[in-house]
């Protein structure tokens, strides 16, 4: 039983490390790294389930009858792409947050927001606006 479920347990451990980083760490980039670990552990879970004893990679060859299950592979190919897509958008957001707040630490951002909460003035961050400010400076 230990060997049979070993992969699944490791997956759970990895998943929880990822989730812990996402929730407990305040640095936005670190959170994204945590998210990557979290997602990758799900990939490992799917791929482990596709494995079959005595099987080979699912590419048809003469004389082989036992192949690992191709379907989870297909699903995870898609999931990997989804993962990188999310990472790219998240990183783009981080770059913009750094520009607008001057920090990428969760606590400092929330501090700044709570100070500005009651002001009616917009915290404008568009690039065109930045240019305009620059001229005034």
């Amino acid at each position: 039983m230990i060997m049979g479920l070993f992969n699944d347990w490791v997956v759970v451990v990895l998943m929880m490390i990822g989730l812990y980083i996402i929730i407990a760490h305040g640095n936005l980039i670190k959170k994204i790294v945590g998210l990557t670990i979290f997602q990758t552990s799900v990939f490992i879970f799917y791929i482990s389930m596709a494995k079959i004893d005595g099987g080979t990679a699912p590419i048809l060859v003469d004389g082989v009858t036992q192949y690992s299950n191709p379907l989870p592979h297909v699903l995870i190919l898609t999931a990997i792409v989804v993962g990188i897509a999310t990472t790219a958008v998240a990183l783009a957001l981080i770059v913009r947050i750094k520009e607008a707040y001057g920090t990428i630490e969760e606590e400092e951002i929330q501090e700044q927001d709570s100070q500005h909460k009651d002001s009616h003035k917009l915290n404008i961050h568009n690039s065109s606006e930045i240019n305009r400010d620059k001229k005034e400076c």
């Binding site: 959170k31 897509a85 999310t86 957001l93 707040y101 915290n123 568009n126």
Partner: protein
Amino acid sequence: MLVHLPVLQVIVPLMAAPLCLILKRVQLVWLFTLLVSGIAFLISVLLLQQVMSSGTIIYELGGWEAPWGIEYRIDKLNAFLLLIITGISTVVLFAAQTSIEKEISQDKHTVFYVLYLLSLTGMLGIVATGDAFNVFVFLEISSLSAYALIALGKDRRALWAAYQYLIMGTIGATFILIGIGLMYQMTGTLNMEDLSQRLPEVAQTRTVFTAYAFVIVGICLKLAMFPLHLWLPNAYAYAPSIVTAFFAATATKVAIYLLIRFTFSVFGLSFSFTTLPLQIIFMALGMLGIFVASTTAIYQTNVKHLFAYSSIAQIGYMIVGFSISSVAGLTATLLHLFNHALMKSALFLALGAVMYRIGSVQLSQFQGLGRQMPLTMAAIVIGGLSLIGVPLTVGFVSKWYLLMALIENGWWPLAVLVLLGSLLAIVYVWRIVEMAYFKPSLATHANVKEAPISFLIPIWILVFANIYFGIDTRLGVQVAQAASESLFAVSVSDITIIEDSL
């Protein structure tokens, strides 16, 4: 061509998105987007007609039959959802060009429409598909575009809200992915129909229980169900007005749909509600959601925030209806889903108009607007009345059905609580009315005029819909009832299968 309607429903907006990028000219792109959304709406009307008259439509993508290929399965429930999504999307788009001119810088306009269409595609794809993994793929399309759309908001807090939404949304989606993986592991299939037949055999395993928990928690994150709602208020408040109007009316509805689909169609009623104490959990969380969110709404100084919290409260009503797990309860949920889409899109569009004219939606800035923007403010008042559930508005219809469903089960105390929740809605709507009509105008707003016609038309279309469907309840009730009855019929047949196997 009629046979291909299910796939065209998703493909038309999907293919239109890259086309927009090629068109480039902003005015043209807007008209094109509007046209595409209109076509999608027509398709959904045809689909609903077809489903109501001749039953579930199955469309095999790639010509491969169901468990091996992906199928689209349109029944009454998702045909109804498709209609809501495409309808709201089309109406909201009327005002889009005027609104984004003030809120989004010129060079981002084309990109805005591309993302809007992608988001629409994602939601339609989630609703139309009959394949569990396909749900995940389209969920990500709609979410990714949603993050970017929210980040287009002018306020820098939009970026932070989008980031938080991204983290929560991705955790939610990954949870759903884990759940789907566990289900797949136990049954060997991804097709929802096939799953529903193969799950009862393994229903007693711990793995399936875990799978259900993960799918549900994942969906509830997307749904912003109390207490997982923390990402929603800021995301709605700082997104561009058009985006808020569109998402408030559709995004959470899609999540509700998924909740219903997985609970009733995939896992089956007997598993979801008999073996697990879900009824109590959902009922409690729904009720808590109504009260906590409504109370928080009362103390908001930003009107967009106020209505965002009100949305979370309305989700609470839907969850309560869902947790009754009777035909009447589900009918109430579906009705409220439809009605809430009408109210919130009208309200948020009206807020968009206010934003357009005075550049802010702080409650204090609403002083005297009742005289300066009479039509817009009247729309907010009617939308607010509908939110409270005053007779002759749609809000009344769904609350009425919810009360009936509760009383049918003899749950009087809960019915009273639902009524009390509505009282809270009176308070927060009154705060706006008081500001707009009983306070003198601000000196800085001396030149504020009524919203432009491109806003007023869609707003009042939605307001009239609010009143029309409040008086002539046939369409909504008929479809909602048929949908929930068919869901229960499926679930009941599930039970007989289990009994047979025993």
